[in-house]
Symmetry: C2
Subunit: 369 residues, 2 copies
C-alpha cells in the first residue's frame, strides 16, 4: 500500500503545465456523470462553442481530443494523411521534428525544411519548397515553438499554402489564448492545442478544429484512419448531434476545460494576449538587466515562453533545482539543441502575472548572487 499523496504546491513557470485557477480544480471535482447524460451533452456543446470563440473559428468540427497536445497533433495528422500523401513540414525545434515523426508513421511522404533553433521561416522559404518539391497535400508548422521561444509568421505562410492548394496544419499548443490565433482569418485547416499552457487547465485534453476543406479531405479518404481512437469520422458523431458512443469521454477533465474556457472569455482574448505581452516585456527587461540573454530572434519572440541562455559558468540544472526546492518555483530546462544551455521560463495563463515575474526574478537574483 502506498502513502497518501502529499503535494507541496509550486509556482509553475516552465513550458507547461501552468498554474491552474482554483475554479478549474473545483470544477474537476464535481460528481462524475455519464458521457451520454443530457447534462453532460450540454457541457460538450458549451465547450465546443467556447472553443470556437477561443480559436476564432466557425468550424462546426471543433472539439477536445481525449488526450494531451501530442494526441491532438496525431489526430490532425492521421485524419488528413493517407499512406503516400505528400506533406511539407517546417521544422524549427523539437515540436516540428515531432510532427515529422508522427507524419512518417502515418505513412506520409514527408519533405522537411529547417531553420536554426530560435529562428523563423520566411514566407519565401515555404514558397520555394512548395515550388521545387511540391505539390503537397498538407503543409504543417508549429506556431509557437516551445523548445526555442520563437513564433512563426503564420498568416503570411498561410496565404502561400492556400495559393498552392494545400491544407494548412498549425500547432497552437503554446500560443492559444496567450497571443493572437485566428483560425478562420489565417485560413488554418487543422489546428490543435493543449489545455495546460495558456488555457491554464491541467494537461489531458487537446482542443482541435478542422475547416470545411479539411472535413472534405477526410470524407474523400480511400483508406481508414490509422488510429481508431483518434478517427474524427467517428469522434465527430459523438460530439455532433448524432451522439453516437465512440469512447467514454474524460468527463471530469471536460468539466475543468469548460471552466477554464469561461475564465478565458471573461477576461477577453485581446486583454489576455496583452497581459501575456506586458509581463513578457517586464520579465525581459529584468533579465536583460541581469545580463541574461534571450535566445529567440528578437522580432519573433513569444510572450509566454522565454528561452534564455544560462549564464556562462553557471550549473543550469543546479539553479533549477534550487528554484524548485527553496522557492517552489518550476522553470524548464533546455530541450534538444538547447539542452544544458538554456532555461525556459513560462508566463502562461494564470502564471502570467506581475507576482510571477517578480518571484522568479528575485529568486534568480539571490541564487546567482
Amino acid at each position: 500500500m502506498t502513502n497518501p499523496m502529499s503535494i507541496r504546491p509550486r509556482m509553475l513557470m516552465g513550458p507547461g503545465p501552468s498554474d491552474v485557477n482554483p475554479r478549474v480544480l473545483d470544477a474537476m471535482a464535481r460528481p462524475t456523470i455519464g458521457h451520454l447524460d443530457p447534462q453532460f451533452l450540454q457541457i460538450l456543446n458549451d465547450v465546443r462553442e467556447t472553443l470556437q470563440a477561443v480559436f476564432k473559428t466557425r468550424n462546426p468540427l471543433t472539439l477536445a481530443v481525449s488526450g494531451t497536445g501530442s494526441a491532438g497533433m496525431e489526430a490532425c495528422v492521421v485524419n488528413l494523411i493517407e499512406p503516400g500523401d505528400k506533406m511539407l513540414i517546417c521544422v524549427a525545434g523539437v515540436f516540428g521534428a515531432r510532427m515529422k515523426d508522427v507524419a512518417e508513421r502515418a505513412g506520409a511522404e514527408v519533405t522537411a525544411i529547417e531553420v536554426p533553433w530560435g529562428h523563423v521561416f520566411t514566407p519565401e522559404q515555404v514558397e520555394n519548397a512548395i515550388r521545387e518539391r511540391g505539390p503537397f497535400k498538407v503543409v504543417g508548422i508549429v506556431h509557437a515553438e516551445t523548445s526555442t521561444g520563437a513564433g512563426q509568421p503564420i498568416p503570411d505562410i498561410g496565404r502561400i499554402v492556400h495559393d498552392a492548394g494545400a491544407l494548412f496544419l498549425v500547432d497552437t499548443v503554446t500560443s492559444l489564448a496567450g497571443m493572437e490565433v485566428d483560425v478562420d482569418g489565417w485560413r488554418i485547416d487543422a489546428c490543435y492545442s493543449g489545455t495546460q499552457k495558456c488555457l491554464s487547465c491541467p494537461p489531458g485534453l487537446s482542443p482541435v478544429t478542422f475547416s470545411a476543406a479539411a472535413e472534405r479531405a477526410m470524407s474523400e479518404r480511400k483508406t481508414k484512419v490509422r488510429s481508431w481512437y483518434l478517427d474524427m469520422n467517428m469522434v465527430r458523431q459523438y460530439w455532433g448531434s448524432e451522439r453516437l458512443y465512440h469512447h467514454t469521454a474524460p468527463i471530469n477533465m471536460i468539466y475543468g476545460l469548460h471552466e477554464a474556457l469561461r475564465i478565458v472569455l471573461e477576461e477577453g482574448l485581446e486583454a489576455r494576449w496583452r497581459r501575456h505581452m506586458r509581463h513578457h516585456l517586464e520579465l525581459k527587461s529584468e533579465l536583460e538587466g541581469m545580463g541574461i540573454r534571450f535566445l529567440a530572434d528578437p522580432d519573433h519572440r513569444l510572450p509566454m515562453l522565454n528561452a534564455v541562455a544560462a549564464p556562462d559558468g553557471v550549473d543550469e540544472a543546479a539553479v533549477r533545482a534550487r528554484l524548485l526546492d527553496e522557492f517552489a518555483i518550476e522553470i524548464g530546462a533546455g530541450l534538444g539543441a538547447f539542452k544544458g544551455k538554456a532555461w525556459r521560463i513560462g508566463l502562461m495563463g494564470e502564471s502570467a502575472t506581475e507576482r510571477h515575474v517578480q518571484a522568479v526574478v528575485g529568486a534568480l537574483r539571490q541564487i546567482l548572487a
Copy 2:
C-alpha cells in the same frame, strides 16, 4: 459566454462511468504540479506499484496510458502488431469487434472467430482456430464483454495460446478490480483496462501492463509503432528511471487514479471481488423475481455488468429516461445486437452496494407497475 456548470448528481449504474469516491475527486482537485517534478515522479512510481498489485503482476512495464480504455486497447495492439502480422481475435460483442477494427488499422492480418452474443468461447474453439488458420503472433480477447454481460474463460484460453507460442492480449476494461484478474497467473502478455469501471475513478486513463515476452516482441520490431502518442518504446522511458519527456502526463487524472488504487487495496482485491458478486446475486434475485430475464450464459455471467432483456411491450428507452429524470439513476442501453432490447445495469466499484441494488430495483418496480 456560456453559463456556469450546474450538475445534478446521479447514481451511476450504467456500463461506466461508475460512482466516484469523494476522496478521488478531492485528489483530482489538488494543485497541478509539473510532469518532471520529483513529487510527481514519486506519484507515478506509486501508481505503477499499485497497478502491479491490482493486475497481479510483476511486469516492470506497467503504467497508465494517457487516454481512455480504447486508447489502451490501441496501445496494446499497435505496439505488438507490425503490418502483415497475423492476429486471431475472439469476437463475442462490441468490444471484440472494436479490437478487430483497431488491429486491421494497425496492419494486422486478422482472423476473427465469433460466438453468439451473451455466449463464451470454449478453449477448443480457440485451439481449432489456431490449428486450422494459425500460427498467430497475437491472440486477442475481451475478458468481460461490456455489451453482453458474459465473461470469457481466460485462464483456459491462455494455456492454449501459450502452448501455440502466441502472445495473449486481454481486455480487462470492465473486469479489473471487480472480479478475478491474474495477469501473471494467467500468463497474459498484454492487458489493458479503464479507470471508470470497477476502479471507480473518472474516465481518462487506461492502465496497461506488458509481459517480458511482449517487451521482447516490441524490441524486435522492424518498423516503428504506427502511433507516436502510444509508442511504448518512448512512453516507458518517461515512466521508467530515464524520465525522458515524451508527452505531458495528465497530472490531475493521475492524482485521481493514485487515490482510487489506494481505495481498492484498502478494501483488498478478494473482498472487492466478493462484494461485486454478492450484490450481483442480490440484483439477480430481485430482477428475476420481477420476471426480468438475464441475457448472458448463466455459467459465465459478469457480476458488474448485468445485461437483461427489457420486458415485452415496454418502451425500454422511456424507462431509462424516467429512471434518470425521476430517480437520478443512470442505467445503460443495449449496444449492437442488443440495441433497443436490453438494459445494462452496472454494479461497478463504488456503485456495487446494497443501496444501489435497492434503489434501482425499487425505481424499476414503480416505473413498471
